[in-house]
Symmetry: C3
């Protein structure tokens, strides 16, 4: 077991969910390499091999566009989100790349104070260890959601 | 603090919950030593010292039987489960054995997309470090559930 | 990345939530240095810089008083709580002090068996590494709650 690798991946995931939950969405694209891809899919479609992402981006520019859209839509402002990440399994691919699978869960806290489970599932990540400035960054992040209810899932990045 | 021991235990728990949530139930018995025991109990009974497990198995063969029963019952297929494990405390017993206590939580995602908290509680584990093929395996796993509602708890292993 | 520091902090947090959820409240003050401070605030007030904690204590003696009050009130006994902690980010301040930020979530399990999300948010911790007996202890713990509903939040320490 490569202890440092494990903790490097867990640290990347921790910084990622802190940025999202603290509404620092402008930092979100920087967790990805320049040509990084991001997809949200349902577990059902993922298991059937159906290429029907709910959200899709294959560059940092597209991620930035998405943040702009969210900022202008403004609909999500009254809410808070709280991610939890656990059970991260890491597998080295080569000298510069690892794959990681984690369980996640997101709570949504409404302005009224009500809290509900917003999403749960798995993060399937391919991570470049020596990205910008030597930091670990996502080459590919597939967010596999357990539920197929997606009307509200478009609110924030997962 | 023994860093490698801590991460070895966390890795075992992570692999365990991934197998369950990915519906690889046939692998479940292999997380236990041949004579491994598995119990689900309520916190209430556990604290009172009452030996009344909801589910009980004391060998890999019994665990396999349980998987067969679940596969034939087939009732749980329309649902998904998502485990989270955290706050793992590890204590070495001897050269080959550790005890670990963790908090867990399981979400259930219905076919309709609705998500609910299915179970929560503690894993009380006795782990053999050098099990089959040198891997860590459970000698004893006691799943202490916070709630005493158990009508649905029989669906999948926890 | 300082692996040992990371795991020392995660271990402190794990021991802390185990003590709370196992109803060992008398141990709670000992997770703090003698002059340790503890606050529960809403995210809304915290972000606005409003100094209006829901709960406030600035010494171990005050924490002990709070435990006594809870023990005498006795209202919470029929319930159980289950904390989850994740995404812990650690930053060393000096030779003896670190800052840590974590995500937390607390479930409440009623006597009837019903489970609900009780609280979620962030732990903002300043930790002394060489506290009593050389153990890590909180110098300051700010519990920033996502929700502003607090009627029930006074039940147990978070």
């Amino acid at each position: 077991m490569d202890i440092e690798l494990q903790l490097t991946v867990e640290n990347l995931l921790a910084r990622y969910v802190h940025a999202l939950d603290n509404d620092r969405l402008e930092e979100w694209p920087q967790f990805f390499v320049q040509t990084g891809s991001y997809r949200i899919v349902t577990a059902e479609n993922y298991e059937r091999g159906l290429p029907l992402p709910i959200v899709y981006a294959d560059s940092r520019a597209m991620l930035r566009d998405r943040v702009s859209a969210l900022r202008h839509a403004n609909v999500y402002e009254a809410q808070r989100y709280r991610h939890a990440v656990s059970a991260t399994l890491v597998e080295r691919q080569d000298a510069h790349t690892v794959r990681a699978v984690s369980h996640f869960q997101v709570l949504r806290i409404m302005h009224t104070g009500e809290t509900a489970i917003f999403a749960s599932g798995r993060y399937l990540d391919r991570i470049r260890l020596n990205g910008d400035g030597g930091a670990a960054q996502f080459e590919e992040k597939i967010v596999v959601c357990d539920s197929r209810r997606f009307d509200t899932l478009l609110a924030i990045p997962l």
